[in-house]
């Protein structure tokens, strides 16, 4: 198996975007899911590849827990999150025997798994492949960048929360991107404030504005700021994604929709992420129809 297997497999994908953050728990996976759902409702075909091998969250967030991967002659068939098969997903979560089983692997095994994911999944035609990563700047990140190198991915979206402790890790991630020659498409400031459901007062639980300041300081595009939305937290948590969550009264009877794509449209954050997705699409030159970036080079 060579790197060009990866390239061959990705030939039918227009844009490859990595979602990165040096810090854990800032919302990489939830931003990945929201970007994917926004792009799907804007008429695109999207694949989500979860390379967080020790803590895969995407299956739960897309309501795909307990689903299994199948092997066809063309490769591994991803799991689809919506009936129209516009949102495909691949994660190690689909390969584990139980929800408690841990993946205790050192680097080389993780690298091999990521290579398999990139080379062996039969994605079909996609407009976007979003790659959700674990925190840090280590094996998984190097493996993904290395195997994608020949194919020159469009770049990375960086997710942060506003407090200084997170920003310091995120600066490291941006330096990582620059070191390996991965363009930074933009930065999302997540968990920026929480609107109290009782009095509508917005509290900056993890401070605010830090992400925008960092984007200026590091000279990367700022894609937007998203507050904490308990409705979204519930949507990502609940097992049945067709129920429209009501954060103020979790026990109340819920409306139902056809799929998670539609349910997400009812969430308070969806217009905001629709804008972020549009800005991202502009950033990768989606409207010019295809890859406009030169092959990645190491500075």
């Amino acid at each position: 198996m060579s790197h060009s297997d990866v390239g061959g497999r990705l030939a039918s994908i227009k844009h490859v975007v990595l979602v990165l953050s040096g810090k854990g728990g800032v919302g990489k996976s939830s931003c990945t899911v929201q970007l994917a759902l926004s792009l799907v409702s804007q008429g695109r075909r999207v694949g989500v590849l979860d390379i967080d091998l020790c803590g895969p969250s995407i299956p739960r967030m897309l309501g795909l827990e307990g689903r299994q991967i199948h092997q066809a002659s063309a490769g591994w068939v991803p799991v689809y999150a919506d009936p129209s098969k516009r949102l495909a997903c691949m994660s190690i979560g689909f390969l584990l025997p139980g929800k408690d089983s841990s993946v205790v692997w050192r680097g080389p095994k993780k690298n091999a798994m990521i290579k398999l994911f990139l080379a062996d999944v039969y994605w079909g035609d996609l407009d976007y492949l979003l790659i959700d990563t674990p925190p840090g700047t280590s094996d998984e990140h190097l493996a993904a960048v290395e195997y994608l190198q020949e194919w020159s991915p469009d770049g990375a979206v960086i997710v942060t929360t506003p407090q200084a402790v997170a920003l310091s890790d995120v600066k490291k991630e941006i330096s990582f991107c620059r070191t390996v020659g991965l363009p930074v498409l933009g930065l999302i400031e997540n968990m920026s404030g929480f609107v109290c459901p009782h009095c509508a007062e917005c509290t900056n639980v993890f401070s605010t504005g830090g992400g925008e300041g960092l984007a200026k300081h590091m000279d990367v595009p700022f894609l937007g700021r998203a507050p904490i939305d308990p409705g979204l937290v519930m949507l990502l948590e609940q097992e049945d994604k067709t129920l429209v969550p009501n954060a103020n009264d979790p026990a109340a009877p819920k409306e139902t929709t056809a799929s998670i794509v539609e349910t997400y449209q009812r969430c308070a954050l969806s217009p905001l992420f629709a804008d972020i997705a549009r800005r991202l699409a502009q950033g990768v030159g989606a409207d010019n129809g295809g890859r406009s970036h030169p092959p990645a080079s190491t500075e």
């Binding site: 040096g22 739960r60 390969l95 600066k171 330096s175």
Partner: protein, 327 residues
């Protein structure tokens, strides 16, 4: 179509030789069938009998009484925050010597949280000197060795492991060659169940007092925490208990309580009941905790009367009782 079943990465790699003994077997990289396999070097470098440095680590840490790991499968749940507050609280007793080791190599947060980000670690003939936050509280972190806070540590596993080993083997705790006493050695870890975790458990083999597992209430975090608990059980690390962080939020303007991270599956309480673990306590989300961390001060000192500080204090009392009761 056939089900794919076991992850192929876990079994024999696709490009392996025909008679591959399996990358996890004793003879990995050394069996007859390994000759010429592209993975031979990786396999051969992984397991090679007991690490010759283990006795050195044991010697260096021989006067350390309690060794606690702060773990969570999930990132951003407050491992480092909890570690720092536990360290500050333990060190508020002048007679207790506390050492903190930050093994989050790619995202070291403790120097900032403990208010000593501008310090440096110095090397003497006795080894690295930790940074003293207080007279009886010292910290070792890769954050002290970086040229700037933007500098990324782009390292694969083996280099991270080497650094962790140095932290345990080469740090001159309490400044004297004949080994000063450390009452509590707290080890703050990165998220996941990978190189750093395997290394620390192997290096401290059998001498870990116990692990404190930190989580947040929502199922998305709990499912990673279950994996960490599974890891502890497989690795033989005793679990002292679980701390639920960011549990509930009291609006500073109307004092109404809401659940930011809603415990759809019952939160840490249900997890502890299911897995038979003690729940040490739940700490509400308080914006002042994050501010204290950004400023590098002790939240327990600055906001001693807040419910969050009381929850912390209560958990720390329980932990001390659990740990000191073991003696």
């Amino acid at each position: 179509m056939v089900e794919a079943g076991v992850p192929p990465g876990g079994a024999v790699p696709e490009n392996a030789n025909e008679h591959c003994p399996g990358p996890e077997s004793e003879s990995a990289g050394r069996a007859d069938g390994c000759a010429g396999c592209p993975n031979q070097e990786i396999c051969a470098s992984q397991v090679a009998g007991p690490d010759p440095d283990l006795p050195l680590v044991a010697e260096r840490l021989r006067n350390v009484r309690h060794r606690l790991l702060i773990l969570s499968g999930k990132g951003g749940v407050g491992k480092s925050t909890f570690t720092s507050q536990l360290a500050f609280a333990l060190a508020s007793d002048e007679d207790t010597e506390v050492g903190v080791v930050d093994i989050d190599i790619c995202g070291p947060s403790l120097p900032l949280i403990m208010g000593c980000a501008d310090e440096e670690m110095h090397r003497s003939s006795n080894g690295w000197s930790p940074v003293y936050v207080r007279d009886n509280l010292s910290l070792v972190s890769i954050g002290f060795m970086l040229p700037s806070d933007e500098a990324a540590v782009i390292w694969r596993g083996p280099k991270k492991n080497g650094m962790i080993k140095q932290f345990l083997k080469d740090v001159d705790w309490a400044g004297s060659a004949d080994g000063g006493r450390i009452d509590y050695l707290l080890v703050d870890t990165p998220p996941g169940t990978s190189d750093e975790h395997l290394s620390i458990v192997q290096l401290l083999k059998g001498t870990i007092t116990g692990a404190v597992i930190v989580t947040t209430p929502q199922e998305v975090a709990l499912q990673d925490v279950r994996k960490e608990i599974d890891f502890c059980r497989k690795a033989g690390v005793p679990i002292l208990g679980v701390v639920e962080n960011m549990s509930g939020f009291v609006c500073p303007s109307c004092h109404g309580e809401s659940r930011i991270f809603y415990p759809t599956s019952g939160g840490a309480r249900a997890l502890c009941d299911e897995l038979g673990l003690p729940l040490l306590g739940s700490i509400p989300l308080d914006p002042r905790i994050g501010r204290a961390c950004d400023a590098g001060s002790s939240f327990l000192d600055t906001c001693a009367d807040s419910p969050a500080a009381q929850a912390y204090a209560d958990i720390i009392v329980q932990l001390r009782r659990l740990v000191e009761g073991q003696e």
